[in-house]
Amino acid sequence: MLTVQHLTSGYGSAKILNGVNLDLGSKEVVAILGRNGVGKTTLLKTVMGIVATQSGTTELKGQNITKLPTHDIAKAGIGYVPQGRGIFDKLSVKENLRMGLRSRPDGSDEIPEYIYEKFPILLERSGQLAGTLSGGQKQQLAISRALCGDPKLLLLDEPSEGIQPNIVQEIGSFVRELVERRDISVLIVEQNLELIGLAADRFEIMVKGELVHRGLTSELNNEEMLKEYLSV
């Protein structure tokens, strides 16, 4: 699904990614772990074309998307939910979802029904300004909006941030459900081990812009490993 090779990128003189290699299979959910500031978010942004790639390649289903502009990467089939969710606060909930439709390959103008079924609150608040939603509702909206584009790959950046535990669980099981039912792969940057345990198949640990350790989700209770890479 997604193949990233020797990817480097950064801002100005500061290099953040120092050669990232990553393979993501079809219907696979991979979590990226690591301390703050090691480059996890930059990885997602680089894949998405928001941060320019300095060297290396990114391929989606065999298509080289390294040099594509962001909007074409979106159209190629990647949905992105950024840290902080990137909701258009001054647009209504429905308008936010309609924006999500822009990258659909089939050009459909209908918001998929399963989204409203899953998150009825979005239908209820359809005409309301998205800025007035609670944190959890915004996260639901952000994921739904990304799904409106019918992506093959979903990038999630810290979806649990600032959200109540019960909704974190809900999101975790929803991600699983998506993978099973809608044939989607997910790359997720997360610090919440509970969510990772619920949603991911395996994890990769990032240190100073490189992926240094990988493992199955079941290995996540290895205290020694956690201590080494994730501090305290």
């Binding site: 500061a14 500031g37 941030e161 081990l193 501090s231």
Partner: protein, 235 residues
Amino acid sequence: MTVTIPLLSLRNVSRSFGTFKAVTDVSEDFGPEELNCIIGPNGAGKSTLLNMICGTLAVSSGSIHFGDESIGGMSGDKIARLGIARKFQVPSVFPSLSVVENFHVSASNALSANELDEILSTVNLSVDRDTTASELPHGKKQWLEIGMALSMQPKVLLLDEPTAGLSVDETRATSEFLRTLRGKVTVVVIEHDMAFVRDLKAHTMVLHHGKVIASGSFEDIENNDLVRDVYLGRR
């Protein structure tokens, strides 16, 4: 140095943005006897706290004192002139000025040639003295900014993630340097890098969701279950 440095003390300091409480009820004393660290996950309110100390943000409630002086509502430039210097998270230097010129701007009084040389050698930038700041590599920019803070001859040095983007060697050099300041300057460091904080053996305060959840020596903090949960995302 014989100058006595008054205590920087925070009492019930809070700050909210609209309904969001970024910092709640923080009380803490920072003195020069030991290095001080503030740790906590992203969004815990660390930078907000620093912003309030140096006057970039007003406190919503509570008080901040530097010695006898209440600095809670003071303007940034006044606070700076009391000797409270700050190094930003992203290296914040003047890119179009040379290294030396950066020091001249930041110095509170005109620097003599000796003082200038001293600072240059302290931050290892002697060879780069006439280099334009924008052309310095990332690590040297961090040092430049620390040097700028020093050139203010500060009594308090606030450092926001001084090791972000530094190599392992540079990080070690930074902690060595900071340890030399103990007793001379009140140092408050925001950090993520636990190895670095451990290295500093600093008095550590942990912020989470704007509240102090632990405070004490680094060993205490390291063995605090609550802190570990917060850092590993267990609830």
